[in-house]
Symmetry: C2
Subunit: 202 residues, 2 copies
């Protein structure tokens, strides 16, 4: 009788847990937090509802983990683009484009991350991550101001406007049905974002 779990046992458990998180993410992207009951998630993962509690102490804990994984990826990608090569305005432009593009490519998940009704624990995470998005935008705006590329401004407010604008576009279910519309939408959104930061219009 083993007093510790063997490496094989651990990795199997890890795998099951990861699988559960992945399935839960799909369910949430598909039907939203409010419809993602423990039963629905367990069904999607092909396990019994009770078994979920082998991996997470509560539904809220699973939901938070799902949120953190997905939102964390977005913060990472956005951070790389905004902190990457090029002058601040170029990076801002690419950042808005990338953020919006990724969201439009996975609307269900983007909506769940940005706006969909969720339990308080997830709501708290959301506030935290929105602050992170805004902090990333704010930093590049500050750099642009420092470099003389952008006029003096409250970078935090501008960052909030950028985050809000992108979110608002996604919330509208009518937006961007086809590929051409998406391209135009991204162009218009990027233009509005650059104006918002005070960048000279092209």
């Amino acid at each position: 009788m083993a007093y510790r779990k063997t490496p094989a046992e651990i990795s199997r458990l890890e795998a099951a847990r990861e699988r559960l998180i992945g399935c839960a993410t799909e369910v949430v992207a598909d039907v939203g937090w409010s419809q993602a009951s423990v039963n629905a998630v367990a069904d999607a993962a092909g396990i019994a509802a009770g078994s979920v509690y082998q991996h997470f102490p509560s539904k809220a804990a699973l939901a938070v983990e799902v949120f953190r994984r997905a939102a964390g990826r977005e913060v990472e990608v956005l951070g790389e683009v905004l902190g990457g090569a090029g002058d601040p305005v170029e990076r801002l432009s690419r950042g808005v484009d990338v953020f919006a593009r990724r969201a439009l490519e996975n609307r269900g998940l983007a909506y769940a991350l940005l706006a969909a009704p969720a339990e308080p624990a997830v709501g708290a995470e959301r506030l935290d991550f929105r602050r992170r998005y805004r902090a990333l935008f704010a930093e590049v705006v500050r750099e642009g101001v420092a470099a003389g590329q952008l006029p003096p401004q409250n970078a935090e407010i501008t960052a909030a406007a950028l985050t809000g604008a992108i979110g608002e576009v996604l919330v509208d279910p009518l937006a961007a049905a086809d590929e051409n519309a998406t391209q135009q939408l991204l162009a218009d959104l990027t233009a509005a974002a650059l104006r918002c930061a005070g960048a000279p219009t092209a």
Copy 2:
């Protein structure tokens, strides 16, 4: 035995209904939709939970009425400012200021209207009203473009950015603790909004 309600009866019923809506609005502004149970609302109104159903067929119907009243007031006020006197850029500036100011003055209600988790019926109303806000902003932006005061742009996207920026500011619980901070916040927000629409910076 009267076959019809007397005027006195009707007005008493109306009054009770209005009172219920008012109390429900306060509860929602105070604790949010998710915590505004029928019991909580009935308690606030000083009636029994069951009596709520004398005035509304369901909790959802009451919630929708609460939302419509409150959101309708905001649309009306915003519409008057944006459609009032002055050139388009002036009106836009005042509109952003008024919208944000009213929201900051009643944060609980503003949060409930703009962002707080809510049941699907309320969520649908919210989408509808956000579109109305955006339509109002978009109209004045179009007028500004037509008048040559603003550069050519997608007015819908700009309007979404304005709505989103204001909403984003409100969601952050850290913002505007004191009066001075509120004034600065409004100034910064208005400046960002005007830049977003391409108005010449002051």
